[in-house]
């Protein structure tokens, strides 16, 4: 049977979604796909476009790549625009003259930014905000500008304003309507948003119609307004809405709406039955949908129809929740109360700058819409109430009033129907989440991996977690976080007990809260907790039995029973003299030498007997232990920074050394890695670290909870343009909060994914100090820092402790099981067959 040929014109988010759905479908074998993009790259995440200014690269934003398409047999053509459609011969023809036949054609041409027809709008520094190329042009222009204006106070406009502000420009927003975000907000919400944004230094001008853009006196341009006023600026960004990209359809005679847009029916078919239109170019029932979720739904509907299904598109929920210039803003359904006879409840708090409004039906039984500014926590509940037309509580006030003791709780997730859409980015229903939980997903990480829920904008994460927990409880799964059979507590609970009851030894804790003898799971975990809070010398008789061999012998155990030696090289900065000492030591003890990923030197194959001598030489040369063996702060990687680099904007090495010296020795639930980059080129790869810092023109950007390793995770931007003191304060709090609350062996990345409330919650705790813990966390960190000691130095000065560093308690003999062979001019342990073969055997060097 011949395969059906599908041509997809446009490889934006929606076009890609269509292809991705097709790949995932069990009927994918019956189709052949080719997609065209006029842009030079495959689909990327336009929703996250502003992250480009925060240092994200085109690859970071990519939704797919050429390897993926090739692996799944998807043909693609980049930088070649489809210019003609031939419905009779069923062909598409591109600018370069290429012809491709189709059985089904899918138009996903998207939209273009609307630039108001103002004389002078075509000058060099008049730009738009839509593609990565646009952002590159904005960045370039911003470097040559002091003042920037965004025309349009909608959602995208405010995002663009944020970008200009971040770039250090004096920023203005010019809006034609009487308020900001006129589509999503009502009068009260718009006013508060304006106040908050102006407080951040962005000037807002409403009810301004620009009549012309002429040469300025103080700045590059001058914008003249209809009311006679004017504004001078060096650059102008137009973000005055989008228009459907329907030029191709228009040329070829497809039926369009009066104001543009390719008309489609409930199956996303255009006036030509074999031609579909999806996303922002499609006009359904007189509406264009400028959000990605409805576009994704259309992609699903069109594919279903092509495959003979009958799924229909019947409109979309345009509710949104987002953070604009740091302000929480949400809009649900009929936010302005336009439904006849609807009634509103309004809560307005000028002290904390919060505005909330709900619009209910005339009979008071249904929620029609809502607006929230300054506090959007109730968004999940309100959006579900509205979309699912659920019964309102008897007193709808409770939905927006601040929680006070005795007040009714928000409605639980149990009341949601299975069809309720929890994650709108990936269209994941409550039922789908429950199924995934039943199939074995028992934590947020697993749930995200199997359903994709909460992996888009992340706005639904709290709700997803609630649904998961409720389902787990229903299944009778007691969410068991007990650390092991000896303690019926999670690591976090044990940490609280140790801290609050001031318990200082394992035996005391076992006595009061545990059973049995402990084990290799609870002992190191509790050893780590004790060390995190009290930072006593870990080889005290009381603690030594708790430690992994790595901690006891202050080295990393290797497969043959020898250890590796890794001295600290803070920030990766090392003098030639110290490098020579490392070389001499390695040579003397015949150690295999390798450079680590954390910018230091690893010496392998050290025998217990030799460790003290090796370290004595290293300590004498000024080295300290590198804690490479511990669940503790490892390295602060850095690029060379502004001291040498032509592009560096700040001294990344200096900061890296300060930070490494501050936190060295901190014991934590898992290892911690840091990095500092001296500019946005990010040569230190800070965004793959637990704590990443990137220099900006105005200070430091802080990223948290990144990870390389087994499950890579990009760090989240946590705070921007910090001075050094604030930066250190946030890191102090962040690390201590992690140490206090994470599970055993839980990296910061997984910890954050499981943290209820996610990144926003973490920011509240650390930046806004919502739990009032800030000072306490800082004091605890100060305590740990003040008790720092180089464990090797301490050990070397105690003859009793040194006795331990011998393979035998009763002999100076060495382990006779160690056999080495040469490889690339260094030693390595012999493999099993080499031990018995005739390969030249090298005895480890004796001192």
């Amino acid at each position: 049977m011949n395969k059906q040929r599908i041509v997809v014109v446009g490889n934006g988010m929606v076009g890609h979604k269509f292809i991705d759905n097709l790949i995932a479908s069990d009927q994918s074998g019956q189709f052949e796909v080719i997609t065209f993009s006029e842009e030079p790259r495959l689909a990327y995440d336009r929703v996250q476009l502003s992250k480009y200014f925060a240092g994200a690269t085109a690859e970071d934003l990519a939704l797919t790549n050429e390897d993926y398409y090739q692996a799944h047999g998807v043909n693609y053509v980049l930088s070649d625009k489809v210019e003609r459609l031939d419905f009779i011969n069923k062909e598409v023809i591109t600018a370069s003259g290429r012809r491709e036949a189709y059985d089904k054609l899918v138009l996903a041409t998207g939209s273009f930014p609307f630039v108001p027809p103002i004389p002078g709008n075509d000058q060099p520094h008049c730009l738009v905000y839509r593609t990565i190329e646009d952002l590159e042009a904005i960045t370039k222009s911003a470097k040559q500008s002091q003042v920037g204006v965004v025309v349009g106070g909608g959602l995208l406009g405010l995002e663009a304003a944020n970008a200009l502000k971040q770039a250090g420009l004096s920023t203005h927003v010019v809006e034609f309507a009487p308020r900001l975000m006129a589509v999503q907000l009502d009068e009260g919400g718009g006013q508060l948003l304006r106040r908050k944004i102006e407080a951040m230094g962005v000037t807002v001008h409403t009810q301004k119609a620009t009549t012309e853009i002429v040469a300025g006196e103080k700045c590059r341009y001058r914008m003249n307004f209809a009311d006679g006023s004017h504004l001078e600026t060096d650059m102008i960004l137009f973000s005055a809405g989008i228009r459907p990209q329907d030029e191709l359809a228009r040329l070829c005679g497809l039926e369009l709406g009066e104001r543009g847009g390719i008309k489609v029916n409930n199956y996303c078919q255009t006036s030509e039955p074999d031609v579909y239109a999806i996303g922002e170019c499609a006009l359904w029932s007189g509406q264009i949908f400028g959000l990605v979720a409805p576009g994704y739904h259309m992609a699903k509907v069109a594919l279903s129809h092509i495959m003979g299904g009958d799924e229909a598109f019947t409109g979309a929920d345009m509710s949104t929740k987002l953070k604009l210039l740091g302000v929480d803003v949400a809009s649900v359904g009929d936010a302005q109360g336009r439904t006849p006879n609807s009634k509103s409840y309004i809560y307005s708090n000028d002290v904390e700058d919060i505005y909330k409004r709900i619009v209910v039906s005339a009979d008071g039984k249904r929620l029609l819409g809502a607006v929230m500014v300054g506090d959007a926590e109730a968004y999940g509940t309100l959006q579900q109430l509205c979309v699912n037309a659920m019964d309102l509580p008897a007193d709808p006030n409770v939905l927006i009033l601040p929680a006070v003791d005795g007040a009714a709780q928000l409605m639980g997730v149990d009341s949601l129907p299975d069809t309720a859409q929890i994650c709108s980015c990936f269209d994941v229903s409550k039922g789908a989440i429950c199924c995934a939980v039943q199939a074995g997903a028992q934590n947020m990480g697993e749930l995200k991996a199997s359903t994709l829920a909460s992996t888009g904008c992340g706005g639904c994460s709290a709700l997803v977690k609630q649904v998961m927990d409720a389902e787990l409880t229903k299944l009778g799964v007691e969410v068991n976080n007990d650390i092991c059979e000896h303690f019926a507590y999670s690591r976090q609970q044990l940490a609280d007990i140790v801290r609050v009851k001031k318990i200082r030894s394992f035996s005391a804790l076992l006595e009061s809260h545990g059973t049995g003898h402990g084990c290799d799971v609870c002992k190191p975990a509790i050893g780590s907790i004790l060390a995190s809070f009290w930072n006593d010398y870990i080889l005290e008789d009381d603690h030594i039995g708790l430690q992994d061999t790595n901690d006891i012998f202050l080295g990393n155990l290797q497969k043959d029973g020898t250890y590796s030696v890794v001295p600290r090289v803070a920030g990766g900065e090392i003098t030639p003299e110290k490098l020579i000492v490392l070389g001499q030591v390695a040579k003397q003890f015949n150690l295999y030498t390798k450079i680590t990923g954390g910018q230091r030197v690893d010496l392998f194959g050290a025998q217990l007997n030799d460790l003290p001598t090796i370290w004595q030489q290293l300590v004498d040369a000024g080295f300290e232990t590198g804690h490479a063996y511990g669940k503790s702060v490892r390295t602060v990687k850095s690029c060379v920074g502004s001291t040498w680099c032509r592009y560096g904007v700040d001294d990344s090495v200096g900061l890296a050394i300060d930070i490494e010296d501050r936190y060295k020795g901190l014991r934590s639930p898992h290892k911690l890695k840091f990095a500092v980059s001296g500019c946005t080129r990010e040569c230190a790869e800070a965004q793959s670290k637990d704590v990443g810092i990137i220099a900006t023109e105005k200070g430091w950007n802080l990223y948290v909870c990144g990870n390389g390793g087994m499950r890579p995770r990009h760090a989240d931007l946590f705070a921007t343009d910090l001075d050094s003191d604030t930066l250190i304060r946030y890191i102090d709090r962040f690390l201590m909060f992690y140490v206090r609350t994470a599970d055993r062996l839980q990296r910061t990345s997984v910890w954050l994914e499981n943290l209820e409330g996610g990144l926003d919650y973490l920011k509240q705790v650390i930046i806004e100090d919502s739990l009032g813990l800030g000072a306490e966390l800082e004091v605890e960190m100060q305590h740990v820092i003040s008790r720092y000691q180089c464990e090797w130095k301490t050990t070397l000065s105690d003859p009793a402790k040194l006795k331990r560093f011998s393979h035998f308690i009763n002999s100076d003999a060495r382990d006779d099981n160690l056999v080495y062979v040469q490889e690339r001019a260094q030693v390595r342990p012999a493999r099993e067959q080499e031990r018995i073969s005739t390969v030249e055997v090298v005895e480890p060097a004796l001192v």
Binding site: E485, H486, S507, G516, H517, G518, C519, D520, C522, K523, P524, D541, I544, G545, L546, Q547, D548, T549, I552, F553, L557, K559, D560, G561, K803, H807, F808, I809, N810, S811, A813, D815, N817, E832
Partner: protein
């Protein structure tokens, strides 16, 4: 079979909750003292799974009622009293150990 006792170290050299390795008649013997009741145990030091002489450096504990040591290499548990591995079908030799006049002795 005649057993001879060998003094290997002073009592205080084996801190409760830890182990040491002794060389006895050419054999590597791991000696452990439990931290709760200060009992002594002696096993072969060779980890047959990781194939290295490391068991004396493992963490002690209990799994159910069984006192064990966990291999520091791949964390399998060996019963202190019998040498039986709890996860794999292997058993390591055990030795007699006793304490006399402040000294620890092993029979091998």
């Amino acid at each position: 079979m005649s057993v001879s006792w060998h003094v290997v170290c002073r009592s205080e050299a084996v801190i409760p909750g830890t182990g040491v390795c002794a060389l006895v008649e050419g054999k590597q013997v791991a000696i452990f003292r439990t931290f709760k009741d200060r009992q002594l145990f002696a096993l072969d030091n060779f980890d047959p799974i990781g194939r290295a002489n490391v068991l004396s450096r493992g963490i002690q504990g209990s799994i159910g009622e069984t006192l064990v040591v966990a291999s520091p290499l791949y964390k399998q548990h060996f019963a202190l009293a019998t040498g039986l591995c709890l996860e794999e079908d292997v058993r390591i030799p055990v030795y007699e150990v006793r304490e006399q006049h402040g000294l620890i002795e092993v029979a091998a």
